[in-house]
Structure formats: C-alpha cells, structure tokens
Amino acid sequence: MSDLEIFRAEARAWLEANCPPSMRGDAPNAADEGAEVVWGGRRATYENPEAELWLDRMAGRGWTAPTWPKQYGGGELSADEARVLSQEIARIKARPPLFSFGLWMLGPVLLEYGNEAQKREHLPKIARGEIRWCQGYSEPGAGSDLASLRTRCEDKGDHFLINGQKIWTSYADQADWIFCLVRTDTTKKHEGISFILFDMASPGVEARPIKLISGSSPFCETFFTDVKVPKENLVGRLNGGWDIAKRLLQYERQNISSGGFGGGAGVELEEVAKRYAGEAAGRIADPDLRVRVAAHRMEARAFALTVRRLEEDAKAKKGPSPAVSIIKYEAAKLNQDRCELMIEAMGLRGLGWEGDGFAPAEISATRSWLRSKGNSIEGGTSEVNLNVVAKRVLGLLDHQ
C-alpha cells in the first residue's frame, strides 16, 4: 500500500470514529438565512453541541487548516494528502466544521506576508475557530475602484490612528477582528495603501447591518472614529498593502468558486421543474424549460470539472492563478441562472415573500433569487473580473 493509501485508510477510520452523526448529510448553505453554520469566534453559540464537538476534534487534529504548518495549528498535510482528506470528508458527507474568512482569506495571506509573531498570534486562533474575522475592503466611494479607498491611518508615534468608513463588511457586527485596507499615504493611489489588523472591540468601532432586497443580509456599514491600533498590527510594509490585498482577493475568489454560490444544496432544479411544471413520461413536460434546465446543468458540470482542474493546477504551482477570476465570474452567473430557473419553474409560487400561503422552500427560492443578484457584484463585480482576465491572463492593455 502506498503512503497515500495508508493515509487514506487512517483518515477514513478517524473520520468514521470522530464525525458525530448529526454533522453528516447535505451541508447547509452558508448564504441561507438561519442555516446552522459554525463560524466560531468569541461569541459563538452552539444550538447543537455536536457541532462544537466536531469543530474541537477537527481543530485538535489540525484538519480545519489541513495544509498549514503544525506550529500554527494546521495539519501539515501535503497537497495530495489534503486532496485525499477532502475526498474522505465528502465520502461520509461530513459537514465543514468551521466557516471562516480567517481560514479562507487571511490565513493564506498571513502565511505568505505575515511576520513570525503575527503568524504565531493569529493562525492558531483561526484554525481553532476562536477568533472570527471580517474583511474591511469596500468603502462608499471605493467599490470596483477599490484602490481609491480613503479610510485614513495616521502614524501617531507609538500607535496608528484610524478614521473612516467601510461598507459591505460581511458579519462585521459579529466578528472579533478585522483585516482592513487603510490609506497611509494620500499622495499616491495604489502605493499609499496598507494592510492592517485590529480588534473590533477597540473603542471607536461601530457596525450597522444593512437590509437588502432579499429582506436581510450579512452585510454591515462599519465606522471607525479615532480607533487606536498597535504598530505591530501592520502586515507587510507600510504602503505595501495593495499586493497583499490583491493576493487575498485571489484567495477570496478561489474560495467563492470552489464552494460556489448557493452550492446546489437542497432541492435539485430538475425535481422542482417536474413537480411544479409537470412531468410526462419521466421528463420535464415543458420542453423549453427542460432544454434550459439541461443547458444549465451541463454548464454547472463543466464548471465543477474546471474548478477541480484549476485546483490541481494551483496545487502544482503553489498558489491561485489569475485564471481563478473566470471562476468567480462563472460561479456568479451559474447561481443567478439557477435561481432564475428555480423561481420560473415554481411559477407564482416561487414569488412568495412570507406567510403561510407559501412553503418554506418556496420562500427560500424567492429570497435566494433576490440575494443572488449580489453574486455578480460582491468579491469583485463580473465586469472587474472580466477586466482582470483580459489584462492579466490575455495580456490586453489598458485603454489610453
């Protein structure tokens, strides 16, 4: 038996023995409101005690962050072992023990750009789910043109002083710490940005939730008024934050993509189409809808195959390639198409807002459809992602 097969056997046995029964089955969709998803953090609450147990066991093994070094709370697995582990996790349908911007975005960037003290301080707490992070990127005047951000960070000798406003900060009202882009030089654009970390409990931080067209949302407006931040919280060099910011966006887009938006959890489109629009001889009775469902499902298959292929590439090259921008673009398009087809198949039953007149799955379809409109805006608009592909992958130049 090869070393990898030995690892597989061990992983399989450990997962079988340690994954609690209620942590198996179709993963909840993190974007679904009210879905039982573990985000960890200082204020974490567990309706299901097995969710906490599962997190503790996986974190104890280092498998919340399988490829990170052991000294930082990871499992120090090779790329091949990590792939085997994810296959074994999928085999028993074990749910992710932890949803975390720290794991997906900040961690990989700290491993690359953080100093030793920062890695030792933050990575183990991320891996154990002790600290929940949020992302301070967009501002009211800096959306697609992110580098025009204005949140001011001044050097006050023994500390930094931060003043400004962020927007679309996911879960800012529940996060413990923030990784934040700030302006440290007002005379330059990209070269005047720094990447800094601070505690959301610091005096002067305020987060206000934003209500979306879908009824609610994880997003907040976040205000900073004379927030004092220790100097050692700067990641990388002063005014050198833009490269780190872009790197983190690659991880964010890669992560959005491998999970996909919506993820296809729960009811399948073709079953909904059969149930609501009729079935004839085992087929969706409406031939036009049937063809469009098939076209969508085929594109989703092509997408899943591509995500896997690019992941293999990324492992071989040790990092995401700019081509992940096509994945973010495509993931958004696919989920929007899926949501549109879902409510179309349901007819007016797919356009309920609330109340007893509609089944919960119907309300959920409506809300998911509305929420999906943000998929092509958040994490870089589809237009910005196409710009990235045109410039960085295809080598087309900027218009003069």
């Binding site: 073709e270 189409a273 059969k274 085992g282 087929r283 969706i284 049937r290 063809v291 469902v293 098939a294 076209a295 499902r297 085929m298 594109e299 298959r301 092509a302 997408f303 195959l305 591509t306 896997r308 292929r309 690019l310 293999e312 081509a323 096509i326 673009y329 495509e330 237009e383 992602n385 196409l386 710009n387 592909v389 045109a390 410039k391 992958v393 295809l394 080598g395 087309l396 130049l397 900027d398 218009h399 003069q400």
Partner: protein
C-alpha cells in the same frame, strides 16, 4: 478527475505540435482545397502521420498499434485541429474503436494491422439524413441464407469516398425510430453494389454519400451481435464525439489565439483595438468558455480511458460544449477581424466553415442537451 499527462503523452503531443507546424500549417489545407482534390486529404501527409504512429494510438501493440488510449489520441487531434489538418485520423480511429468494442479475434486480426499502418482507411457510416439521429437508421439488412443483403443509403459519411473499411449501421429488425433491431456490419469499400458520391461540403473535407444496392455480405461481416447493435453503435459514437470534440477544442483554441493576436496588433483610433473594453470582455468570456470546454473534453477522454460509468453523459457534455464554443469563437473571429475576416484570403473563413460541419457531426448541442437530460432522468 483528469489525471496529469505522463511523459509519453507529453512527448507525443510535442512531436505532433512540431509536425503540424512544419508539415501541415493552415496553408497546406488551403492548398489542398484550391487543388479541387476530391479525397479531402493529402495522401503523403497521411502516410507521414501513420509513420509517426498516430493511426495506431487506439490499437493494441500486438496488432501494430501503441494502445495509448483516447486521451493520447485527443492530444494529437487537438494539435491537428489547430491547423485544420485534413486527414482520416479521426474516422480511422472510430473504425478501430468499433473493432475494440465489438470485433471478434478474426476481424481484429484482419483489420487492425491495416488500420494501424495506414494500408487501409476506416470510417463509420451511421446517419442517413441531414441531422444526427442514430435511432432513425433505416438502411435494410435482409437475412439471406448465411449472410445479409444491404439496401439503402448513408449520407455525409466522413472519408466516405476513400474508406477501405466502412462500419455500417443497418436495420435487421424493428423500424426507423426503434433502438432495437440494429446491426453493425464491416463493409469493404470496394464491395459490389456499393456506390459512392463525393460531396462538396463547405469544409472541403472528404465526405461522401453512399448507396447500397443489393450489397451481399457473409455472416462473418456482422460486428458484435445481430439485432441489438444500438448499444455498440452508441458506444462507438460516444468515442467519436469525444475525439471530435478534442479536434474542435484545438481548432477553437487556435481561432481564439489568432483573434487575440489581431486584437493586440490592429490599430484604430490611435491604439490597439484590444484596449477597448467592449472587445476585452468578449475576449475574456471566450477564454472562460475555452477553459470550461477544455475541462469537459479532458474529462470525457480520461473517462473513456478509465472506463468510468458516466461516459455517455461526459461525451455528450464535451461534444455539446465544443460545438457551442467553436460556434461562438468562429463567429467572433470573423467579426473581430473586420473586413479582412470576410475575405477568402484570410483563414477565419476556413475555421468558420469547418466549425459548422464539426458542430453537426455526431450530434449538435441541441441533440446532446436532449440526450443529457434523458441520461440524467429528466
């Protein structure tokens, strides 16, 4: 999951790339077209391809081939597709596949060495109308003593004018529209009663219509078993679809790259037209489609080599996507080149013409969407 290429595959792909660049650029295809040749391919070039071992990629070593499989053949077809190389490579491989899936020892012994060394050209004759519809096959095979008599027609048969071995799908029972009652036969190109009419199709390849008038075949000409040949035919067609998709992927990639070069070099309003966002976004979307299609084609070919159980769905996915991809990219190739793309002197038209024929062969996207939905149970 697609496995990484091994050294042998990389070597073969690189040698194919070199050969195509040196011996078979698009200008070679253009020259062939302008010569009015009815075979639809250059004999000398095909001989070289056989000498390089490409005709034997699917054929086991003991029969003169290399037995390297579908993914490997796909790599070569991608390279030949890039320059629109016209050759029997694909049709020949489809005939070899027929023997792999349904041939007995005697049939293999007789045909495989000839298909491998190029002394015989093989092809598949399935469709009888303008649209791919394998269940609608009507060509009649009547049982006569120990053999069969074939009467009917096959249309648009690739390499139909030159093939020495034609795998013919015929009806020994049931009626057009039924899946049961099909039987596959190995028919020699010079069979008495078989007449062939070469067609001038828009892609200038070697397609022909075949007419069977009392073609007498011995019982030993049956490929597989008589009466239930649909599954065998479907298996052969799936391999044809995946391999053709590889050729189309190569051609679409070249169509895209040629267009991208033009976007970078053509200057209007004082700058390269590729700096305009309207064109940048269309190029980026085409690139996205290319990457998605590549994943599907590689997964289908790899699935065939590893004999995974959803091969039919993967092959339909690959063929549908390759068709839609090249359709889009060939249209954009003409549009983004502007007036020059409309001229016969430019290659864009050659890609556009081949794109539509390849799209229709073995089922267009509409055919495969319907098939995919049926396979998936809706």
């Amino acid at each position: 999951m697609t496995s990484a290429l091994n050294e042998e595959q990389i070597l073969l792909r690189d040698s194919a790339r070199d050969w195509v660049r040196e011996k078979s650029p698009v200008s070679a295809f253009r020259k062939l077209r302008d010569s009015g040749d009815v075979d639809g391919f250059e004999r000398a070039a095909w001989r070289e391809m056989c000498e390089l071992g490409w005709s034997g990629i699917l054929i086991p070593e003991e029969f003169g081939g290399s037995g390297l499989g579908y993914r490997t053949l796909g790599l070569v077809l991608e390279e030949t597709g890039r320059t629109l190389t016209a050759s029997p490579l694909l049709s020949n491989a489809i005939a070899a596949t027929g023997l792999l899936l349904g041939g007995n020892a005697e049939q293999r012994q007789h045909w495989w060495p000839k298909l491998a060394d190029g002394s015989a050209i093989g092809t598949l004759a399935a469709d009888e109308g303008a649209h791919h519809a394998p269940e609608r096959i009507a060509l009649a095979a009547a049982k006569t003593g120990s053999g069969y008599t074939l009467n009917g027609e096959k249309r648009f048969v690739p390499e139909g004018g030159t093939a020495d071995l034609i795998v013919v799908a015929a009806r020994t029972g049931g009626s057009a529209g039924d899946e049961h009652g099909l039987t596959l036969f190995l028919v020699e190109g010079n069979a008495s009663g078989l007449s062939r009419r070469p067609l001038k199709t828009v892609d200038s390849r070697g397609a022909a219509d075949l007419a069977f008038r009392n073609v007498e075949l011995p019982g030993s000409a049956v490929l597989g078993s008589a009466g239930d040949g649909f599954a065998l035919l479907d298996g052969i067609l799936d391999r044809a679809r995946a391999c053709l998709a590889a050729e189309m992927l190569g051609a679409a990639t070249q169509s895209f790259e040629t267009t991208l070069d033009y976007l970078k070099s053509r200057v209007q309003f004082g700058q390269a037209i590729g700096t305009f966002q309207a064109l940048q976004h269309r190029a980026a979307k085409m690139y996205t489609d290319l990457e998605l299609t590549r994943s599907c084609v590689e997964a289908a070919l790899d699935g065939l080599d590893r004999n995974v159980n959803d091969v039919p769905a993967l092959c339909s996915l690959a063929k549908a996507r390759a068709g839609e991809l090249w359709h889009l990219v060939s249209n954009e190739m003409v549009q983004m080149h502007g007036g020059i793309g409309m001229t016969d002197a430019h290659d864009a038209g050659l890609y556009l013409k081949r794109a539509r024929v390849a799209e229709a062969l073995y089922g267009n996207a509409a055919f495969h969407r319907d098939r995919y939905a049926t396979l998936m149970g809706y």
